[in-house]
């Protein structure tokens, strides 16, 4: 918990190679096997999704089920991509995700900086509010949020959805980033300011680069929240071409009955962007969790 974020990533790599377990050096093949078994069990649903998505319909319905692919086909993907609104739904999902991430990072960093660097009246109250509002389940607020957005003329519009998601990811964003800002030694900033940087310049040149792992972890969190959400988008967005992929996937399910090949292809397509982003930043993720989320 004391690793400063700047060294976070390399710190984790170092730890990975030489874990601090007291049982170092006494590796048991039984434990390795147990670890692999657990990994295989956890991975099986994903494997089964991919296998179903890529195999022809008659193999999907084989009895007994076959666990290795015999023939591969793209027919399910062709069907999924062929649904009329698919690309519009992708566009909506991307806009909602990117909008939520960008705005929450921007205003969340400002608030996190204030909380980490300044003592001001009302600071403690703000911290309590930020931590407390995370308890409020989104599903419970659908009715008043809907009323509010319809008064503002923002129903069936992507900005309305982004605004709502923003508020639900902001508390955790601020809290996570606060930990990262606090871990940057204030002396670094002061030194930069002594050398003639403005406060903004010191922030941009000194603090921001050291915040990178925190920003990555935070944007991942915001993206996943925005990508996962279903109910609110379902209530707020009535035009088919504005709905995100989560709604598309559900409509797919009812539209195709028990066409599991098509459904699994759709599920694969829905999961792909987030999985790609995770793969890109997974190194940073552990570092981010170790320093930001846990450090107060």
């Amino acid at each position: 918990m004391n690793t400063p974020p700047g060294t976070g990533s390399s710190g984790v790599l170092r730890l990975r190679e030489r874990p601090n377990s007291p049982h170092r050096g006494k590796r048991r093949p039984g434990l390795n096997a147990l670890g692999l078994l657990f990994g295989a069990l956890m991975a099986f649903p994903i494997y089964w999704m991919l296998l179903t998505a890529f195999r022809p319909a008659e193999e999907i319905h084989a009895d007994p089920p076959r666990f290795w692919p015999d023939h591969l086909t793209l027919e399910h993907f062709r069907r999924a991509l062929g649904t009329p609104t698919f690309w519009a739904n992708v566009r909506a999902s991307v806009l909602i995700g990117a909008g939520t991430v960008a705005v929450s990072l921007l205003i969340g960093t400002l608030a996190a900086f204030a909380l980490a660097r300044f003592a001001f009246a009302g600071r403690k109250a703000l911290v309590m509010v930020i931590l407390g509002v995370q308890m409020i389940p989104l599903a419970g607020l659908i009715i008043p949020v809907y009323l509010l957005l319809s008064d503002a003329g923002l129903t069936d519009s992507l900005p309305g959805v982004i605004l709502t998601y923003l508020v639900f990811v902001l508390p955790f964003t601020v809290w996570l980033l606060r930990g990262f800002v606090a871990a940057v030694p204030v002396e670094l900033e002061e030194a930069a300011m002594t050398d003639g940087c403005t406060r903004l310049g010191a922030f941009r040149r000194v603090v921001l680069p050291l915040l990178a792992p925190g920003l990555v972890a935070t944007s991942l969190y915001a993206l996943v929240q925005a990508w996962n959400e279903y109910v609110l988008a379902y209530v707020l967005l009535s035009s088919n071409d504005k709905q995100p992929l989560s709604i598309w996937l559900v409509s797919f399910q009812t539209g195709f009955g028990t066409d599991y090949g098509g459904l699994m292809a759709g599920a694969t397509l829905t999961a792909l962007p987030v999985a790609g982003f995770f793969a890109l930043v997974q190194r940073r993720l552990a570092a981010g969790l170790a320093t930001g989320a846990v450090k107060g």
Partner: protein
């Protein structure tokens, strides 16, 4: 501002005093507008009687006082749902945290390549959107061609062919618990493992020298060191599981039977399926109040962590 800046000191301190408020202003405004205001509106709504007519005409709904709360709290079905939600949360949280703790401990003791493989799988599962996870589990537990039925059928004496998991809500909830636990274990295990990595090697080595082994070592040395993280993970899981909505909604095809109602689903269907918006609001208010219990533990833990920083 450089030190050579000729700006008067008083103005600089004044700016310094205003700056934090400027920085938090966007966050505070957004929270007040899209969270604070609706929350107040939710409470107000629960004391009124909003129907479809008022929703579309924009007229002020008639005052209903405590009527909704009275009818909810005296309704046996509401308490059934509360009990079911509590039990569901307890089972999911226990399973998630216990499994994640074992996995995190195991990850410290396996060979590096096995650890890399485990981390890879956990991150991949973590990246699965909830809707995708629910679709996969629906397919795995499918009555006709699901792998789960086939696997269970291999066991002697069991016949699971064409078995419908959602006919009996207990079995249905077993599948839903499976999705929820599968989806939360990665976050919990990776976070706990990250916390385990922060324990100074010397602590456990000293305890090993003193003869502590196995469960005693865990209870007296390892666990106390990661307790703040464990409490954090547990309360976060509890908050998420208490509010589970999507998984049930999806696995029941958008029309959950009454046997599958948890508080979130109940409030939503009251509002949007039956159009009793105020009754739905009252259920949501009661849900939020119940969550405050979990909130207190969570906030106190976080504030405590922040102070000992």
């Amino acid at each position: 501002m450089g030190t050579t800046d000729p700006q008067p000191r008083a103005r600089r301190t004044a700016r310094r005093r205003v700056l934090p408020y400027l920085l938090i202003a966007p966050t505070v405004l957004a929270l007040a507008a899209v969270l604070g205001y609706p929350l107040a509106d939710l409470v107000l709504l629960s004391f009124q009687d909003m129907t479809r007519r008022e929703l579309f005409s924009g007229a002020t709904p008639p005052w209903a006082g405590l009527a909704h709360y009275r009818s909810i709290l005296s309704d046996g079905f509401f308490w059934t749902v509360v009990g079911r939600t509590a039990l569901f949360t307890a089972v999911c949280v226990t399973a998630t945290v216990a499994l994640s703790m074992l996995v995190a401990l195991l990850m410290r003791r396996v060979a590096p390549w096995v650890r890399t493989a485990m981390t890879g799988v956990l991150v991949a599962v973590w990246a699965m959107p909830i809707m995708v996870a629910a679709s996969i589990f629906r397919w795995l537990s499918d009555a006709d061609y699901g792998v789960v039925n086939w696997l269970l059928g291999l066991l002697p004496g069991l016949d699971f062919s064409k078995h419908n998991w959602f006919e009996n809500p207990w079995q249905g909830f077993a599948v839903i618990t499976g999705v929820v636990v599968w989806g939360t274990v990665p976050f919990a295990a990776i976070t706990l493992h990250a916390a385990l990595l922060q324990i100074p090697v010397e602590w456990e080595e000293a305890a090993l020298v003193d003869g502590a082994r196995g469960f005693r070592l865990f209870r007296h040395v390892t666990f106390p060191a990661i307790k703040p993280t464990a409490v954090l993970v547990t309360s976060l899981c509890a908050i998420w599981d208490f509010g589970v909505f999507n998984q049930i909604w999806l696995m029941r095809g958008g029309q959950p039977e009454k046997d599958y109602y948890l508080l979130g689903v109940y409030s939503f269907t009251e509002s949007f399926a039956v159009n009793r918006y105020s009754a739905g609001a009252a259920i949501a208010v009661v849900t939020v109040l119940m969550l405050l219990g979990g909130a207190v533990v969570y906030v106190r833990q976080l504030v405590h962590l922040g102070e000992t920083e």
